[in-house]
């Protein structure tokens, strides 16, 4: 007896945008009930391929077969009629509408909100995805928003569910809950196309993988058999560079001191910082672990100068009381800051790279008599692009034209290029592909080896254990005393992070 046709088969897909080939002869086959990983670095063409499957973009060449039948997918509605559901990386929810209204919009005309509410609760119970239909989306956490998106897809009884980097915003526990749902769907016969560059997740979840590189097919593998190293090398097309830690300096002078910092959040659902003390010395890297939402935003704001502390002596930069100073004054003392959001806070999307480089580096000899030294600025931007291998069309490329990882490399380069005494780095490798992440970690370690203090706030424990000398945990607005990395373990740090997470989990019922 012949085996059933594959759920989805793409053959020779080509998609060209202006001057670049985003997809060049890509093949992809997803079997019924299979959890299939789509791997590749930023800019490898994963998003384009997904857009084609979901009918947002149309291929210039190539064929799409759905359950053995050739099809053309003209728009997202056509994709949904076939049975394709998609959970977007940047959630496609309307903030000012309720959960039920959002789901109604994604479903097409079907009955009243009351009927829908009952169906939502039914699916939510069946798969253990806790959502409250009557709440407004702008009150929800990212994890809850993702559950809304998934419920919306499940209500359409999809036969192929596309997940675009679903765990980049989730806590480890939430991610585990998501995997449970996906495995259950797979057992019920729904195929899953899973896009991620977290290789350990793919090994744990997927039974087949397609790897893209530079818009082309780089190969396929069985992630249960292949090692993370092998998959990573397939993605970047060469040997994986290894970051190494140069020998740290001994006992430098304190360059950033925080003493008994207590501060209310100025956001309605923010976290109050309680009695935070910390001393960062020259040549040290201190990592602050914790799940986002435990005061990270508030602490970084207070250190970078976006919020002034009530007591000027609560924050000292290089020995000077700086609590009352704004960001520019603190930068003059030698403090640099890499914010979490790349476009919007770290850089201006509409500006070319030259001007984005100038934004924070301007006090370092780029302005003379009130006029910008264009030549020096261009050289600075070109230098960053070269040193950090930033993929951009040139120094005049707009911020928005770069992928997230490349923009992050440029921002890191800009901040390091001014030789700061202290560098604050917020989630420096969030959403960045492997090659770029290694380059960024290496740059932070090199900066510390050259004698600067580095404070890294991150949710990625593996990263913190790799690069930091000390690790502290921020939980519920309180900071645990920093411990030398060699004298602590992932389990111990996890427990310190946990106090609050356990409570959250209970509330979500994941």
């Amino acid at each position: 007896m012949a085996s059933p046709p594959p759920r989805l088969r793409l053959t020779g897909i080509v998609k060209r945008y202006a001057s670049t080939l985003a997809n060049d002869g890509v093949n992809l086959t997803v079997g019924p009930g299979e959890i299939h990983a789509l791997l590749g670095e930023n800019g490898a063409g994963k998003s384009t391929l997904v857009k084609i499957i979901y009918g947002v973009a149309r291929p210039d060449a190539g064929t799409i077969e759905w359950e053995g039948q050739p099809v053309t997918i003209a728009d997202p509605n056509a994709a949904r009629r076939l049975g394709v559901g998609m959970v977007f990386q940047h959630f496609s929810l309307f903030e000012s509408l309720t959960v039920a209204e959002n789901i109604a919009l994604g479903l097409g005309a079907t009955g009243s909100i009351a009927e829908l509410t009952a169906r939502i609760q039914d699916v939510s119970r069946r798969y253990g995805l806790a959502v409250e239909p009557g709440r407004h989306v702008h009150h929800l956490s990212v994890g809850e928003r993702q559950r809304v998106e998934i419920v919306r897809c499940l209500l359409q009884s999809p036969r192929l569910l596309i997940m675009d980097e679903p765990t980049s915003v989730l806590t480890p526990q939430e991610a585990e809950g998501l995997f449970g749902v996906l495995r259950r769907l797979s057992a019920e016969g729904c195929s899953v196309l899973y896009i991620s560059h977290k290789l350990e997740e793919i090994k744990a979840l997927c039974e087949n993988a397609t790897v893209l590189r530079g818009g082309r097919l780089a190969g396929g593998c069985d992630p249960r058999v292949a090692t993370e190293q092998q998959m990573a090398e397939m993605m970047i097309g060469g040997a994986l560079p290894v970051a190494h830690r140069p020998a740290p300096l001994r006992e430098g002078k304190p360059c950033l001191e925080v003493s008994k910092l207590t501060m209310e959040s100025d956001e309605p659902f923010g976290t109050t910082l309680r009695d935070i003390s910390l001393q960062l010395r020259d040549g040290q890297i201190i990592g602050i672990a914790g799940v986002a939402g435990n005061g990270q935003k508030e602490l970084l704001g207070a250190l970078a100068g976006e919020r002034r502390t009530p007591d000027a002596a609560a924050v000292k930069v290089c020995g000077t009381d700086a609590g009352h100073m704004g960001p520019t004054a603190r930068r003059k003392l030698g403090l640099s800051f890499i914010p979490e959001e790349r476009l919007g806070r770290g850089a201006v999307a509409e500006f070319p790279l030259t001007e984005n480089g100038l934004l924070t580096a301007y006090p370092h000899g780029f302005v003379r008599a009130g006029l910008i030294r264009t030549g020096a600025v261009q050289k600075y931007a070109a230098g960053i692009i070269k040193r950090f291998a930033v993929k951009a069309s040139g120094i005049d490329a707009r911020g928005s034209s770069l992928s997230g990882g490349n923009m992050q490399k440029f921002i890191v380069g800009r901040e390091i290029g001014t030789n700061p005494r202290v560098l604050l780095a917020a989630h420096p490798t969030w959403g960045v592909d492997i090659g770029a992440a290694i380059a960024i970690r290496q740059a932070l370690m090199d900066l510390a080896a050259a004698g600067s203090g580095v404070l890294v706030v991150s949710e990625d424990l593996a990263e913190l254990f790799e690069i930091c000398d000390f690790i502290a945990v921020l939980s519920g607005g309180r900071l645990s005393p920093p411990k030398p990395t060699r004298q602590t373990t992932v389990e111990e740090v996890g427990l310190l992070m946990g106090g609050r997470m356990a409570a959250q989990e209970m509330a979500h019922g994941v």
């Binding site: 973009a57 997202p76 949904r80 496609s92 309307f94 903030e95 000012s96 919009l105 994604g106 702008h138």
Partner: protein, 309 residues
Amino acid sequence: MHEVEIAVAILVATMRAATPLVLAGFGELITERSGVLNLGVEGMMLMGASIGFIGTVATGSPVIGLLLAMLAGAALALVFGVLTLSLMANQVATGLALTIFGVGFSALIGVSWIGIPLQGIATGIWPNLSTQPPIIQQLMLLDPVVWLAVLVPFIVHRFIYRTRAGLVLRAVGESHDVAHALGYSVIRIRYLAVLFGGAMSGLAGAYLSLAYTPMWSENMVAGRGWIALALVVFSTWKPAYLALGSLLFGFVTIAQFQAAGLGLALSPHLLAMLPYLATIVVLVLISRDATRLKLNAPAALGRPFHASA
């Protein structure tokens, strides 16, 4: 008995003064809820006023006049739509140009119709109006357009919050990118909203020239289009507040005439300011809650949409 007469007179006058604001305001509310800011309300009202007047005098039928006025308003709105939605011109600049165009064009086509007397709609419907007792006379001034304006807030409220089409409208105004990704036709929905706004503005203008005044004179809308626009924003895009604001404005306008009639020793210029002042103060007070504002304001308001694949 006398007090009742005055109360009825004030009520009727308030409703009549509020009618053009309600009609134009709710048209603009729908337009803005779809994410489009059309500052051309004043111009569209003037077009409605002149075309409605000319149509009524020429055909003798106020119904045809009102329909023509709505078509005229919608036609001007269509120009706005083509410029801003299809050609992606700046909405603020285009809206201002639309008003300037409406002022000039309505004056041009209306120039030979100035000073022509016209029966009001009410007197047209009730020919024996002047023989009725005073209270009945007053109540009969509430013509069908006024009653339509009474219904409009309820209909729009129900449409926006209780129907699927209203939900889609709000979604498009909230985030056109998300709506597009979900497969909704952003541009088509916005065209419909803009056309509805234009037709309602045209109707509002025609009410002024056919029933409220009733006659045609150059620039006779006299800033009511701008008031309607301001009311939409101050009401934080909520139908109930918009209806309330329009009534309040109508009431203070009438009260100001009454005060002048009572010989109140206030400068007439100060009195003329009162409706604006009172309306703005009240609406700002009820809508100062920042969270509520964020919830109701169409987040995509004034932002051009281009469907890039």
